[in-house]
């Protein structure tokens, strides 16, 4: 099928301003990450290979480790719940909140909660639910969606944010100085923290041996959101388990560096129970909701390696397609290379609709090269392209590849085509009425074909000296 891909259309239609924000934001992340990793470690590759093998081991024994984590948490007074689907997770959280009489809460950034669209659901059900990460707070005010795992408002600039604050009454006047924007959010949000009765978080890791959840923020919003409240609810994907606390050292060192070029994220909190008896601040009740929502389908697929992902966003920063198109072009919670693999299988019922995403890649391999858990993303993209092909789901490709496949598998046809290609130099292809060809040529100048010249040279070439 010839035509443009949806992601191409998206990239073409986004404003220059937004595209520029995404390009500069993602490039900055990549450069810093390289510098920090190579300054600190002689062989960072060995660490990510180790991280991959720890994750693979955990996933292959997930039932055992999940049961172990559950047991450890229960023994420390934590209420553990399980949710098979997004709807189960939303209802479970709502009923916990109702059980504690919660009407107001703050929520720190959680991709799992984004995935199940928790905020609008809770608000519809009468619970005031406010995002506390600065970027997510702005997203919520705008009714927008995050477009990057780590930098949710990578697509926005300071002028847009200042206008939002003025419009929503966060500030009385327009001021686009980033420091002023941050101070205004500080004043507004801390009042909300103090009024709230509960805090909702995700978890970056869960240690099976002690049940400890590791929760990571730079702003300190999850710490602040939970200090004045009585109830903590953590929504956790079942793939977040790691075998032992000692493995945290491997993952924490990789996560901060890969996400933001920091050795460690500023606030790294470890929680496996309600607050200590002698501590005045903090939740008396802790709930952990372990969510499947398609993860066991991913585990059963031939792309299970994507469950190693620790949500650092490095693959997004480095991807040439992501940089041009932005995260929203991927049409699901997870954008960029990780999303192109994860979304079509995690949201399995949407596979036909999302089957074009694995094609939105040049397979350049940069995503695998930067991945802190060595996920072979290009291989997984190919497996998903194959899956779509077998299911007869044909999304448009920018350039049809089947004629190339015929030529490339027959040496004699290839030779003939090479010789014939010189004829192209004399054909007016720039005016041929084929739309995709015109689109392609619109931004490129095709060099003259020299088909067959190299073969001819090679055949007549005499080596000048013996090796």
């Amino acid at each position: 099928m010839i035509g443009t891909q949806l992601i191409d259309d998206y990239a073409r239609n986004i404003s220059d301003e937004k595209q520029q924000s995404v390009i500069s934001g993602s490039a900055a992340g990549t450069n810093k990450r390289y510098q920090v990793l190579h300054k600190d470690y002689p062989d960072p590759d060995a660490i990510r290979k180790l991280a991959a093998s720890i994750k693979d081991h955990t996933l292959h024994h997930l039932g055992d480790y999940l049961a172990k984590a559950e047991q450890a948490l229960v023994s420390r007074g934590v209420n553990v719940h399980f949710a098979s689907t997004d709807e189960d997770a939303r209802q479970t959280i709502l009923s916990i909140l109702q059980g504690h009489g919660v009407t107001q809460l703050t929520k720190s950034k959680s991709m799992a909660a984004e995935e199940i669209h928790l905020n609008p659901f809770l608000i519809e059900n009468g619970v005031e639910c406010l995002e506390s990460d600065l970027g997510e707070f702005i997203i919520q005010l705008d009714g927008d969606e995050p477009s990057h795992i780590v930098k949710p408002i990578i697509h926005k600039n300071r002028r847009e944010i200042a206008r939002t604050f003025q419009r929503e009454g966060i500030a009385a006047d327009y001021n686009d100085d980033p420091e002023t924007i941050t101070r205004r959010a500080r004043v507004y949000l801390r009042e909300k923290y103090m009024q709230a009765q509960a805090g909702i978080t995700g978890a970056n890791f869960v240690c099976a041996d002690t049940g400890r959840l590791a929760l990571i923020t730079n702003e300190g919003n999850s710490r602040f959101g939970m200090a004045p409240v009585g109830v903590h609810i953590a929504l956790v994907g079942i793939e977040k388990i790691i075998p032992q606390e000692k493995d945290l050292a491997v993952f924490l060192n990789l996560l901060g560096r890969s996400a933001t070029g920091q050795q460690l994220t500023v606030y790294t909190e470890f929680i496996n129970g309600p607050k200590s008896a002698n501590q005045p601040d903090g939740p008396e009740h802790m709930h952990v909701v372990f969510m499947d929502n398609g993860r066991t389908d991913v585990l059963a697929s031939n792309c299970k390696e994507i469950l190693r992902c620790i949500r650092c966003g490095a693959c997004q920063n480095v991807c040439p397609v992501y940089r041009q198109a932005s995260g929203h072009a991927y049409r699901s919670t997870y954008g960029g290379p990780v999303g192109a693999v994860l979304s079509p299988i995690l949201f399995g019922s949407r596979f036909p609709e999302l089957a074009d995403l694995p094609k939105a890649s040049s397979l350049c391999g940069a995503c695998n090269e930067v991945c802190p858990v060595d996920i072979p993303i290009p291989d997984l993209l190919l497996r998903l392209r194959d899956k779509a092909h077998r299911a007869h789901i044909h999304s448009p490709a920018a350039i049809p590849m089947s004629p190339f496949a015929v030529l490339a598998t027959s040496p004699s046809l290839w030779r003939t085509a090479m010789t014939m290609s010189k004829a192209m130099n004399h054909l007016p292809i720039q005016v041929a009425p084929i739309k995709p060809l015109q689109d392609w040529l619109g931004q490129r100048t095709l060099p003259d074909s020299h088909g067959g010249d190299f073969r001819k040279w090679m055949k007549n070439h005499k080596p000048t000296h013996k090796p």
């Binding site: 024994h61 098979s84 600065l134 500023v266 470890f270 200590s276």
Partner: protein
């Protein structure tokens, strides 16, 4: 629902021909040697804490000067630290409360609380629920002072993990609260402290 999830995990993994073994690895692989240069743990910690925009101090006098200079004149001090620190601040003209009142969360310009330890390798202070007097007093004031004992500095991140103990809540603070959400520009003091000070007692 629990059983259904476990059954799906079992059936997904039953198809595996081989299961990956837990890798045998040496923790030194994740030690950052350039960060660990030096022999004195407090010195290594100080260098790395400064790198993440924290400040280290070794006397109460130094703290008094800093608070006066930056006009942070009213704050909270853990009652257990009042004799050693709070009283000296009060003597120098600052006002010090030993109880944190939530309804006046914006009144406290500084908060002095007990740190349970520190990590030299990363420039991190550790606060543990069991031993610190108030989570909020370390969060809402602009200046947080974490009081440390020299013997409590761990050399590496794995060492600090091995020393977790039994507390249900431990937090590592590696510098002031910060964000780069707006155009990638670094701003400190987002929700929590804009100044993170480690005071050696």
């Amino acid at each position: 629902m629990r059983d259904a999830i476990f059954a799906k995990i079992e059936s997904a993994n039953a198809a595996l021909k081989t299961k990956a073994a837990y890798p045998d690895y040496d923790m030194s692989l994740v030690h950052s040697l350039p960060k660990l240069e030096g022999s004195d743990l407090w010195e290594i910690f100080s260098r790395n804490f400064k790198y993440v925009n924290g400040k280290t101090m070794t006397s109460v006098g130094e703290l008094v000067d800093f608070l006066k200079e930056t006009k942070q004149l009213h704050g909270y001090c853990d009652p257990a630290l009042y004799d050693a620190i709070g009283s000296q601040l009060a003597g120098a003209g600052l006002t010090v409360e030993t109880e944190y009142h939530r309804d006046r969360y914006d009144d406290y310009q500084f908060g002095i609380t007990r740190a349970t330890g520190a990590i030299a390798e990363s420039g991190t202070v550790i606060i543990d629920d069991d031993r610190t007097s108030s989570r909020l007093a370390a969060l809402s004031p602009w200046v947080h002072v974490a009081v440390l004992d020299r013997s409590e500095v761990h050399r590496t991140i794995p060492d600090a993990i091995a020393a977790f103990g039994d507390s249900s809540n431990i937090i590592w603070c590696t510098g002031p609260s910060k964000t780069a959400d707006v155009e990638g520009i670094l701003i400190e003091g987002v929700h929590g402290p804009g100044e993170q000070i480690a005071l050696l007692l």
